[in-house]
């Protein structure tokens, strides 16, 4: 029993990550559904569950402002640090990377197990903080001081949990990098790696290098709160009409710099593995090689590098000066280029393909315009002048949710539907899958699209009453109502997914080892893959996307199959022979 829980097998650990992070995604989503009630029907008692939330959180069924703040801060924290990142890196990265590089396991299996359990510990500390006096952290997911320095005890718990989570992802990222660089199968040169592996590699470097400065900042905030220091507290800070009794001399902007030095690369930690999944699903379902594979790889690397140089575009309104703003505005415009290249490559790949509209493909296809919308709405935020108007409004909330919700989360669903038959040997039901997709697509857009309207009208985010106390927001309340109902419906639609998983596990259609006719190495082994992954070490003969290869017996050539005499020569770089491409 103990050996099962503390397994060293990367696939078990990957599944542990995936299941745990999905639970956290549900928790984070649940917090948001609660919060949406207060926005849609401000100061009205929460129906059904209002009385269960405890007297410190609700009064006569009405949500208290302190609880509202906790919900907002913890929704962001849980979704990002306990949901999406552990699912995309811990779950998909752990399960797929060793398989796709043809390795028997991660380079450091014990470290891998340790990083999962540290993540669990961090998650439990985070959840436990709801039950301490004053409740969970309530200074926003960004924990800006001075507010966070003087907030209730929950903030200390938040910091402790974050230090655990950072440690966990640090260990995980070392493992992923070493596995990719050291354990590649013979013949698997860098330009033959599936794009997912490249995306995971760049992501791991971002986690490795961008998280530690936040750890430094977290330690400082912890000292401010526990040891009475004033790293982030300026001289003469007034709290509750009294000058605070602190040494002063600190700088609140210091936190913002250190936080966003992580915070912006974190965006690419959220999006790169998603792009990796989408690339795999699209290549498989268009039955032809990805267009511009090399361009995508170099773009991903450039994206990773540039993501460390854009952080202060979150700080245009802090008074840091026009020189700084001009610099970060420029780098921000530059970083949009590699994202557009990757997105365009995926879009162009569709041209001339014989597309199979399977459920994973639907999610992957929807990712393209959704992420595109998220990215394009970011440009006005990256320009300092227009950001003055849009900063801290619902426009920002809409922008980054288009990137991570119908963007990343759709990609993650695509991945779940695509690799489910490899993990379990059973295919998820297509009809339920399509319903799940259609419902999610409509509801997601109904939630997030109106945010642009609200934001452009000047509605601030984080308002407890949803804006009804402000005259300029009076006409916008109808959108809050619609968003609320869309969010609750979105919750119902997700039931289809869980029903699908449960029914499939019970009596789903059994499939072969390679049901999608895929080329990459994870499909070359048994289903589910045994401990040690491959019966014998695979050798790789070609690039990752040899679909519609001329002369192949089927319409694809797996990476591990030796070339037979008489087949068309395959170039060293893994791109298809010229003859198989559509005419220009």
């Amino acid at each position: 029993m103990l050996a099962r829980w503390f397994s060293l097998d990367h696939k078990i650990i990957g599944l542990q990550y995936a299941v745990t992070s999905m639970v956290f995604l549900l928790v984070g989503f649940g917090l948001m559904m609660l919060l949406r009630w207060q926005l849609a029907y401000p100061m009205q008692p929460i129906p059904l569950i209002g009385s269960l939330l405890g007297s410190q959180n609700v009064a006569q069924g009405i949500m208290l402002p302190e609880f509202y703040n906790q919900l907002g801060a913890m929704h962001g924290t849980i979704m990002i640090f306990l949901g999406v990142v552990p699912l995309s890196v811990g779950g998909f990265g752990n399960y797929l990377v060793p398989l796709q590089v043809g390795a028997s396991d991660m380079a450091f299996p014990r470290l891998n197990m340790l990083s999962y359990w540290i993540y669990v510990a961090g998650g439990l500390v985070m959840l436990a903080s709801f039950f301490v006096p004053g409740g969970a952290a309530n200074s926003g997911w960004t924990s800006y001081p001075p507010l966070a320095d003087i907030a209730t005890t929950g903030q200390t718990w938040w910091l402790a949990a974050m230090i655990l989570l950072i440690t966990s992802s640090l260990l995980g990222s070392i493992n992923i990098i070493v596995t990719i660089l050291q354990l590649r199968a013979p013949g698997l040169t860098f330009m033959r790696l599936p794009f997912l592996v490249w995306a995971q590699l760049v992501t791991a470097f971002l986690l490795l290098l961008a998280f530690p400065p936040l750890e430094a900042a977290g330690l400082m905030q912890l000292m401010d709160r526990v040891a009475g220091t004033s790293f982030f507290l300026p001289t003469g800070l007034v709290v509750g009409n009294k000058v605070a009794a602190v040494a002063g001399g600190g700088n609140p902007l210091l936190w913002q710099h250190l936080f966003w030095f992580l915070g912006h690369p974190e965006v690419y930690v959220l999006i790169l593995p998603a792009m990796g999944i989408v690339a795999e699903v699209i290549a498989n379902n268009i039955r032809k090689p990805l267009w511009g594979y090399r361009l995508m790889v170099w773009s991903a690397m450039f994206l990773g590098f540039m993501s460390m140089l854009v952080w202060a575009h979150h700080m245009f309104l802090t008074g840091m000066g026009t020189t700084m703003s001009a610099f970060f505005q420029t780098t921000t415009m530059i970083i949009s280029i590699p994202s557009v290249i990757i997105l365009t490559s995926l879009l162009v790949s569709l041209w001339g393909g014989s597309i199979r509209f399977t459920t994973p493909m639907l999610f992957a296809l929807a990712f393209l315009p959704m992420f595109g919308l998220g990215g394009l709405t970011g440009l006005p935020l990256g320009l300092a002048a227009s950001d003055i108007h849009l900063h801290d409004t619902y426009y920002v909330v809409g922008h980054f949710h288009y990137v991570v919700a119908p963007g990343t989360i759709f990609a993650l669903f695509a991945g779940v539907y695509y690799w489910f038959p490899k993990v379990t040997g059973r295919m998820l039901d297509e009809r339920l899958g399509r319903l799940h997709f259609a419902g999610s697509f409509i509801c997601m857009n109904a939630v997030f699209m109106p945010m642009f309207i609200q934001g452009l009208a000047g509605l601030n985010r984080r308002l407890y009453d949803g804006g009804i106390g402000y005259s300029h927001a009076h006409g916008l309340q109808k959108w809050n109502v619609m968003q609320g109902w869309a969010a609750w419906t979105l919750g119902l639609v997700q039931l289809l997914f869980f029903i699908n998983v449960a029914v499939t596990l019970w009596r789903g259609r059994r499939v072969s080892d390679n049901p999608w006719d895929a080329t990459t190495l994870e499909w070359a082994t048994a289903t589910p893959p045994p401990h040690g992954n491959f019966a014998s070490a695979p050798t790789v003969y070609r690039g990752a996307y040899e679909y519609s290869a001329p002369g192949a017996p089927g319409d694809f050539l797996p990476q591990h199959e030796p070339a037979k005499t008489g087949t068309a020569p395959v170039s060293e770089t893994g791109t298809a022979p010229v003859s198989s491409r559509p005419p220009a």
Partner: protein
């Protein structure tokens, strides 16, 4: 297919084994951790309402600490490679490291006794922050030393690998200390 390859022998095309690559990556993240702390130090010092003066009253103890730390690394690095020889090296190294920690704690006690705790000023806060995080790294090194002593009987090549990685870590801890010492006690 089971055992993970390249744990000891180097992979020909990358030129390193897994442990070497792992420790270098770990140190890269450590550079970013201390990079964050040092940038905080510079930002706070540059913006301080009153100029910070170096803690020159404790310059000699800082110098002694530097020597202790260097000795901890040097003793781990040099000596015989037999099991008992290795354990002797590790024990000596650990002794110097413990002496460093004790000296550091007595320095804390003397500062706190003089009313200069972490809450006294932002300069003192950065002092406790930088040296505190560093002392935790020394303790981490001690744990690594203990682990080497514990497993000194393993296969020679595996042990050599571990000692190499641990020595590299100690060298990093030394270099960070040099930076901290110069910033806090000298300039």
């Amino acid at each position: 297919m089971s055992a993970v390859p390249y744990t000891v022998e180097r992979r020909p095309d990358t030129g390193v084994n897994n442990v070497q690559l792992g420790i270098w990556l770990f140190l890269a993240s450590e550079v970013m951790l201390f990079g964050g702390l040092f940038s905080a130090y510079f930002m706070l010092r540059a913006g301080a309402p009153q100029a910070w003066r170096p803690l020159s009253s404790h310059l000699w103890s800082a110098l002694a600490n530097t020597l202790l730390l260097a000795a901890a690394t040097a003793t781990l690095k040099t000596g015989t490679a037999t099991v008992s020889g290795l354990r002797l090296r590790v024990a000596a190294s650990g002794g110097f490291a413990i002496a460093f920690c004790v000296s550091k704690l007595s320095e804390y006690a003397s500062f706190i006794g003089a009313g200069l705790g972490p809450a006294a000023s932002t300069q003192m806060a950065t002092y406790y922050l930088l040296t505190g995080v560093h002392v935790f790294h020394v303790l981490g090194g001690l744990v690594a030393n203990l682990w080497i002593a514990w497993t000194a009987g393993d296969e020679r090549s595996v042990v050599r690998n571990r000692v190499e990685a641990t020595t590299l870590y100690w060298l990093f801890v030394d270099m960070v200390w040099l930076l901290i010492a110069v910033l806090l006690y000298v300039v």
